[in-house]
Structure formats: structure tokens, C-alpha cells
């Protein structure tokens, strides 16, 4: 029992002093009390910015988020058209969804009071279902100084420009195992890129196999849609990377290099054992004209379905543009051969140096086979359409590349002008640099207008190709020496297009230059050559702007004839040709095995 002290009796009466103080409480609803500026209140989503990647749904630990279709919003390349719907019966306002949002479209307002008599109201799609707090400027946002996503790529080791100039060795070394895992773990598995890839490869699927170090499974996934994975892992135009959701805030995943990494891990002799392709012959025959990526891809997929496939190729070796148009420092022969050898190993018969229309008639193929697929590519260089272009010192970019690939001397001399801004122009220029020439690239528009891959442009610049942009060639003349040629070109001014198109170059007649070169390489485009087609079949084929019109499965109006590759698609790249090959195989199979037309 404590001793009683007077102080302990009096002291507690201090309580009374408080009765004169104002209350601490708020007088709701008269006094409003807004949430703190960064309070985690109700969600706000900028649906214009959102691309429906569903990463918020993945990270939500309460399963409070569903991705739902939204009225007036359809899927398009790079956007699934879905938007997150929140179930506030489950949400705990942890804001992980905001932190991980790949586009920063999702945030929270500082509003925290919401009264409604219908519990289903608490399931809503922010940004779509209008809410009073949609315009509140305050609320939680991810602090830009931290991110739950990895936004930077590991640096790829490459040959330096000086080293590159001295050899035709591959410039890009490929990822190290550590880099590959770091890069693969940046993927959020949203599947948005799958729609962009012309071949619709299972990209998140094979990236996952890198994280799991299961390269055999990775190879199997690659070969489901693309028998040219080793090649595409090097030279693909990688449009998937343009739509990678990580690209909204950071560097997109290096999907191309990751694909290459998988194929680099597995030696060619193991392919058969891993892929375990079992072929049941179905007794039907298909002829394929052109052993480029389109033709061989069709051959691969048809062969898997049991067709007897004969490929006719005019060149000495298979690969088409991949072999004769892409220099070995981008795509070494052994990487290409790895892919081609596997396709051929499945029992595809190939006739080299057999030009259809010369050695064998198209009609024969047509009559002797159940279907014909051709993807003969664009191999006729377009002319410069200027006076004097038939000068013997005007070479075509394709020819130069082909000569170098076949280890012939292209005879370009020491001082070269390349005209054009596409990949062929860049490749031709870089090849010439490697055989010791000084190179000037003349292009009508600006660098940012060049259709070539940005990496190619950067590497060409690093290799000291001289870029002269907004230069329009006017006239080609004889030089004093037979080994030289003179070109007149004028400076151009970019004029905005009134119809909203891209700006046009307009020649300024008063700013003309005259230069002399050892040769001029024209690389401004290519066209197809269809002289091998018999007239009656040619009549049946519909073409538009130089490209054949085909069905989803590459079928023409002649149900037996299928076309793919650069001559049928707008994108004119390897991966599109490969996709065409696959779809042609599906179409041919539908026609031949099910006896139905294709869509």
C-alpha cells in the first residue's frame, strides 16, 4: 500500500485545466479534411497512356485487379485494349500497382471517402468509370527516384569501330550468362510484344526459359514459330522491342539478343535430339521457289506436317537475302547455316542453281505438285532515275553485298558514294569501309528519316562513313579516267507537308555540288522479278503497289499458289517472310488435308 501523499491527491485535478480547451475533433461534414498530398486514396488511371499490360494485375497480392475490355477501345499493336478494373472489396491500397505501372498511367488521388448504396459500385475501372476524384491533382505517385522495374539494359559487348573495320568478324558478342539472366528478368510477361512480332513468337515464354536456365525448352519454344531463330537473334528488325512495355519508361528488353543467347547455348548437333521432330509422311508434294527465309520457313513447317517438299534455288547456296544481302559481321555464315542445316536435315530436298523459268518451268512445278509456294524476294535493284545512271561505275548495293558474300572482289575502288538510307545502303557502305574504301552516304532526307535500323546508322557513323543528308542526286557524268565517275547533286530543303505527311525534300537549284568518286553505289530500293511466271497464272494473281495480294494464309486467287516474303508483305523483313512461310504452310495444309479454301 503506497503511502498517501498530498501531492498525489491534488495533482490529478490538473485534468480540469483542459475543460477550457477547444476540442481536437473535426466537425464533419462542415469541416473538410483532405488527405495528405501523397495520400494513397482512390485509383486514377490515364487510359490514354495505359497500354493494358496487366502488370498491375500480376503484382496485386490481393487479386483485386482484373483486366477487362473497355467500350470504344480495341486492341492494337502495343496496346491490349484492356484496362484494369479494381475490386475495392479486396484492395488494400498498398500502391504496388502504381509503383510497378509500366507507363506511369496509374496513380492514386488523395480522396478517401466514398459512399454508395450499391456494393457493386466499388468494382470500377478507373479512367473509364468517371469519378469525382479523377481530376484531383494530389495523391500518391511513384517517386521518380525509385522503380520496381529494371529500366536499363546490361551493356552489350561489341567490337570497337576500329576493330570492326579490320575484319568481317561479328560485331556483337552476345550476352554473357550473367547479363542474359539480368536482361531476362526485366521482362514483365505482359505478352504485348507477341502481337507485334510478325511470327507471333512466344517471347515471354522463351525469355522465361532463360531465367530458368532451361535452354532446351527455350529452343523448343523458338522452333514452334521460327526455324530461323539463330539468324533472327542477330538481324531481326525486332519490332517487338518497339512495343515492349518497358520502353515507355526505360530501354526495351533486348529480345533479339536474348533469342540469340538461347540458340548460342545449344550446339547444332544437339538440335535434333532436343527438338525431337517426328514426321509422318502424308504423301503430298509441295514445290517452293526460292530458298530464302520465306521459302525455307514454309519448307520447315510443311515438312513437319508430313509434306514432301522440293525447294528450287537459283544461287549456289540457300539463305537468299540472308546470305547474299546481309554482311557476315552482322550474320556470320555459321549462324545462318545452323538454321538452314536443321531445316534441310528434316528431309527437305533442295535444288541449287536451278532457276525456275530457265532450268525448270514453273508450269512443271505447278502440274507435278499439290501446291506451289514462292517467295522469290526483291532482287532487282531500282534505278536512280537520273541521267547517266547506266555508267559502268554505277554499281548496285545488292550486287556489292552479293560479291562480298561470295568472296568476290566487288571492285569499288578507294572512294565510294552510296546513295540511299536503308539497310542495304548502310550494309554496302560498311562493307566498303571494311575493304578499305572511303565512303560517303548521300541521302535525300534527314538521318531521322532513314529507313535503316538505328543501330546500323550508329555503327556506320562510328565506322566513319561520311553522312551527307538532304542531298538529291541530279546527274551522273563520265570522269576523265574510266575508273572514275562524277556525280552532280544538290542540297535540299525540308518542306512541311500540308496534308500532314512527313516533310518532303525540295531541291535548291542554287546549291549544286559536283564530286568525283571511284564508283557510285545505288541502294535506293529493290523490286521483284516475276518473269518466271506463266502468263495465265500471272493473270490470276492480283497485286497492288508491287506486292501480291494474298489471304491471311498467303493464298492467292489461284488456290494452288501461295506467295510470301518481301513480294507479298509490306514490311519486307526476314521475320515477316518467316511468318509468311509458316502461314503458307497452315494454308496449304488446310487446302490439301481438309479440302477447304483459306480465309
Amino acid at each position: 500500500m503506497p503511502k498517501m501523499k498530498l501531492k498525489d491527491i491534488i495533482s490529478p485535478f490538473y485534468v480540469w485545466q483542459r475543460s477550457f480547451e477547444k476540442p481536437y475533433t473535426n466537425n464533419k461534414p462542415i469541416d473538410e479534411r483532405p488527405g495528405a498530398p501523397s495520400y494513397r486514396g482512390f485509383h486514377v488511371n490515364d487510359i490514354e497512356k495505359c497500354v493494358g499490360c496487366g502488370t498491375c494485375e500480376t503484382i496485386c497480392m490481393n487479386n483485386a485487379i482484373d483486366m477487362v475490355p473497355v467500350e470504344n477501345l480495341t486492341a492494337q499493336v502495343g496496346d491490349s485494349g484492356l484496362r484494369p478494373r479494381f475490386d475495392y472489396g479486396r484492395c488494400c491500397w498498398c500502391a504496388l500497382c502504381v509503383d510497378i505501372c509500366t507507363t506511369s498511367s496509374l496513380r492514386m488521388s488523395n480522396e478517401y471517402a466514398w459512399v454508395t448504396d450499391n456494393p457493386d459500385d466499388f468494382r470500377f475501372t478507373p479512367g473509364v468509370d468517371e469519378k469525382p476524384w479523377d481530376d484531383h491533382p494530389l495523391g500518391y505517385r511513384r517517386d521518380p527516384d525509385y522503380s520496381l522495374l529494371k529500366l536499363e539494359r546490361p551493356a552489350m559487348t561489341m567490337l570497337s569501330a576500329e576493330e570492326g573495320l579490320n575484319s568481317f568478324d561479328e560485331v556483337v558478342h552476345g550476352f554473357t550468362p550473367e547479363q542474359a539472366i539480368v536482361e531476362a528478368s526485366r521482362c514483365v510477361e505482359c505478352n504485348i510484344c507477341v502481337a507485334t512480332c510478325p511470327a507471333h513468337m512466344n517471347i515471354p515464354g522463351y525469355i522465361k526459359t532463360i531465367r530458368e536456365q532451361d535452354f532446351e525448352q527455350g529452343l523448343r519454344l523458338l522452333y514452334e514459330t521460327n526455324p530461323f531463330s539463330s539468324t533472327c537473334g542477330r538481324i531481326c528488325t525486332h519490332r517487338c522491342e518497339d512495343d515492349c512495355v518497358i520502353s515507355h519508361l526505360g530501354k526495351p528488353l533486348a529480345i533479339r539478343w536474348l533469342k540469340r543467347y538461347i540458340t548460342d547455348q545449344i550446339p547444332a548437333e544437339k538440335y535434333q535430339q532436343i527438338l525431337q521432330h517426328k514426321i509422318t509422311e502424308n504423301g503430298k508434294k509441295v514445290a517452293i521457289v526460292g530458298a530464302g527465309p520465306g521459302g525455307l520457313s514454309a519448307a520447315y513447317f510443311l515438312r513437319l506436317k508430313g509434306y514432301q517438299v522440293s525447294v528450287y534455288e537459283s544461287a549456289e547456296k540457300a539463305g537468299g537475302m540472308l546470305r547474299y544481302g546481309v554482311p557476315t559481321y552482322r550474320l556470320p555464315d555459321d549462324a545462318l547455316d545452323k538454321d538452314i542445316d536443321y531445316i534441310l536435315s528434316l528431309g527437305v530436298s533442295i535444288h541449287y542453281q536451278t532457276t525456275v523459268g530457265k532450268e525448270i518451268d514453273f508450269q512443271v512445278l505447278y502440274d507435278e505438285n499439290d501446291a506451289v509456294f514462292f517467295s522469290t524476294g526483291l532482287n532487282v535493284p531500282s534505278g536512280l532515275r537520273i541521267k547517266g545512271e547506266d555508267h559502268p561505275r554505277v554499281l548496285s548495293g545488292l550486287q556489292v553485298l552479293c560479291d562480298v558474300a561470295s568472296q568476290r572482289d566487288p571492285g569499288v575502288g578507294k572512294k565510294v558514294a552510296v546513295i540511299g538510307g536503308g539497310n542495304v545502303a548502310m550494309d554496302a557502305a560498311r562493307v566498303c569501309r571494311r575493304i578499305g574504301a572511303e565512303v560517303t552516304i548521300l541521302y535525300r532526307r534527314r538521318i531521322e528519316d532513314m529507313p535503316a535500323d538505328p543501330e546500323e546508322i550508329e555503327e556506320a557513323q562510328a565506322e566513319k562513313c561520311k553522312f551527307v543528308t538532304q542531298a538529291i542526286p541530279g546527274l551522273i557524268e563520265k570522269a576523265k579516267s574510266l575508273k572514275q565517275v562524277v556525280i552532280q547533286w544538290g542540297e535540299a530543303e525540308m518542306v512541311a507537308d500540308d496534308n500532314g505527311g512527313r516533310p518532303r525534300p525540295v531541291l535548291q537549284e542554287d546549291k549544286m555540288h559536283t564530286d568525283s568518286y571511284d564508283c557510285i553505289i545505288s541502294a535506293i530500293g529493290q523490286a521483284g522479278n516475276y518473269s518466271f511466271l506463266p502468263e495465265d497464272i500471272k493473270q490470276q494473281l492480283v497485286s497492288q503497289r508491287g506486292k501480291f495480294t494474298v489471304s491471311n494464309h498467303q493464298q492467292t486467287s489461284n488456290t494452288k499458289v501461295f506467295i510470301g516474303g518481301d513480294i507479298a508483305n509490306k514490311t519486307a523483313d526476314a521475320i515477316s517472310a518467316i511468318a509468311d512461310g509458316q502461314n503458307a504452310a497452315i494454308g496449304i495444309d488446310e487446302v490439301l488435308s481438309l479440302g477447304m479454301g483459306t480465309k
Binding site: P2, S11, V15, R18, A36, I59, A95, L96, I100
Partner: protein, 387 residues
Amino acid sequence: MPSISQQPHKFDPPLEPDLTSGKYVKIWHGPQHPGITGNMSLELTICGDEVAHCKTHVGYLHRGFEKLMERRTFIQNFPVVCRIAVPEPAFNEYLYAAAIEEIAEIEVPELAQWLRVLNLELMRLASYLMWLGGSSGSFGMTTVYQWTVTHRDYILDLFEEMTGARIYHMYITPGGVRAKLPEGFKGRVLKVMQGVEKLLYEVEKVVFNNHVFKLRSQGLGIISKDMIDEYGIVGPNQRACGFERDLRKDQPYLVYDQLDFEVVTETESDAYTRAWVRYQEMHQSVSMIRQVLDKMPEGGSFHADLPNVLHWNVPAGETYVKAECTRGEYGYYMVTDGSEYLQRIHIRGPSYTHAVSVMEKLAVGINIADVAGLMVSLHTYPPEIER
């Protein structure tokens, strides 16, 4: 292996009184009882108004966090852990983060460490204020409860501003913290601290210099020195018994080694002394918060670089991390197997022993009116028992 001898032993549970004798009545204290901390109940057998036997019952929270965390990824667990102890979520956040950081060898930036200490000490103060209110309430002084909860709310306002939420801050993430301090925040903290100090001055007059409080709490629930280690008693409960043990001093974590403070100890070890120890620690927290604001770096990174959290395989490992929470040693025992999920997590809360074995022992022989007072004097949180 020796078999358990049949001789009675001090740790054997006390024999239950014979209810058929007619001398005893069994009553339930809780789970819905304002004098109980949280949702738990005491099964009391009383003889007159004296408690003859006490059994603790938990299980009213129905949670199983440890199990739920095994099927969530490492980042997904971060919003879960704060729910384990409602009045004191920050310690859970910190320990969960610290355990991962230790296993995954993540270096936490200095600014983040200071911000964590600021967060933890504000949390300690808020939690003590709530306890102080509950404690006064349990001894019949509900007015004090209004005061302390008000000031706790002022701290919650600070949390709201600092972290984006009042109770479940989700601020301390693996790798650092989630945000920098807002503009002018320090000044507002200092202002709230002034208010708290004024409040503490008043509380001293009204609670600690109060004959009624002394009458009821002095001599109540005395914990003997032997019991401390025998029952694993920690925190203010052991410091009130004369043990100078405080993890912030003994095994300093974060930046506690750069703060100036003395471990508070007393010797009486009854309910009053325990309250007095906590009261002094509140002053200590106020002083630490001022030191932190004073010493913390102005800028710098507040979050370490993590791998993509969607594919985060924390390496295989095992660790036990602990921190001094308001009730003593709070620990996370984490076992990982290199996958994206936890192999096991065990959360060690001080109330596990305080509210079960210690409570059952101390309750015997006290007046039934003092049961609530005894319980708050041990400062128990049932959520720590049933994680």
C-alpha cells in the same frame, strides 16, 4: 534421453481448481471486453473476487499470415506484414525488409536508414501513446485516453504525409523506403513533438502522481528476476526488473549507434514501474526523433537497386533479425530456398510469452478488477501470438 520425471516442476501449469467444490466460479474475460488488449480472452476461475486460475485463449483473429506469406512473392509480402501488429506496423515492415536484405545482401542507402529510424521512433511513440491511453483507461482514467489518442492521431497525420497512409504505412520496403521526406516535414514533426511533451507533462501529473493509480498499480503483477529468462520476458517488462537490455543499445541496428540515449531501467518490477519505464521511454523517443531530424543527411538515394521484383529469387538462406519494439525483442526468422517464394517465415512477438505463460502465472491471486490493468501493464498484442 531422460524421461520427464513425475515430480512437480515450476513450469508445470498450475492445477485447475475443483469447480465442483462450489467455491469457484468460471468466467470469461473477453474476447469482447474493453479491458482486453485486442481479440483474446482469459478463462478465469475466481474465488470471491480473487483469481484462482487463468487460461489464455487466442484464435479470434483467424489469420495465418505465416502461411499466406509462403504463397506470395517477396514483394507481395511487403504489404502483408504491416497487418501483423496493427498499432505497430512499422516494426514488421522493417524486419521483413531487413531479413530479405540480409539474405539477398542488399545494401541499404544511408538516407533510407535514417528515414527508417525516424519512422520506427515515431511509431514507437504512437504505439506508446495508444498504450498509455489504454493503460489509463483500464485503471478508470478514460479522460487521459482521449488526450493520448488525440496526440497519436497527430503522429498519424505525420505518417499520412510521410508515407501515404495513417496506419498501414507500407513505407519501409525491401531495399530502402518508398519516398523522401515532404517539404517542411521536419518542422511539423517538431511541432507535434512539442505537443507530445506537453501532454507527457500533464500525464505525469494526472496519472503517475495519482494516488488512486498508485494504489491500484503498485505491487500489482510483480515479475521476479528469475522469471525474466525463465519465461523469455523482454522489453520494458524486463527493464522494469533492473535488466539493462535494449537491442538498440546491445546490438545496434540501422543508425541507432549514432543516437545518444540511455537504457531506462527500474527495479520494482510491478505494473506501476513498467508504466513508468514506458513513460520515460516516450521522452527518450521524442529526444531520438529530434536527434534524427538533426543528424540525418539532407539528400541521397533512399532505395537500393532491386532486381525486377516480379521475378525475384532471393538466394537460399536462413536468418533471424530482431529489433526493439515497444514490447521488446521483435524478430523475424526467415528461411528461403532460392525460389520466388519463402520457405518459412516465423514471426517472434514478445506477447507470445507475455500474454500466455506470464499472464497465466501473474494473474493468479490478484483481484479480478485488476486483470485488465495487469494485462495492459504487460503491453500485450494478441496479433503477435496468432500471426
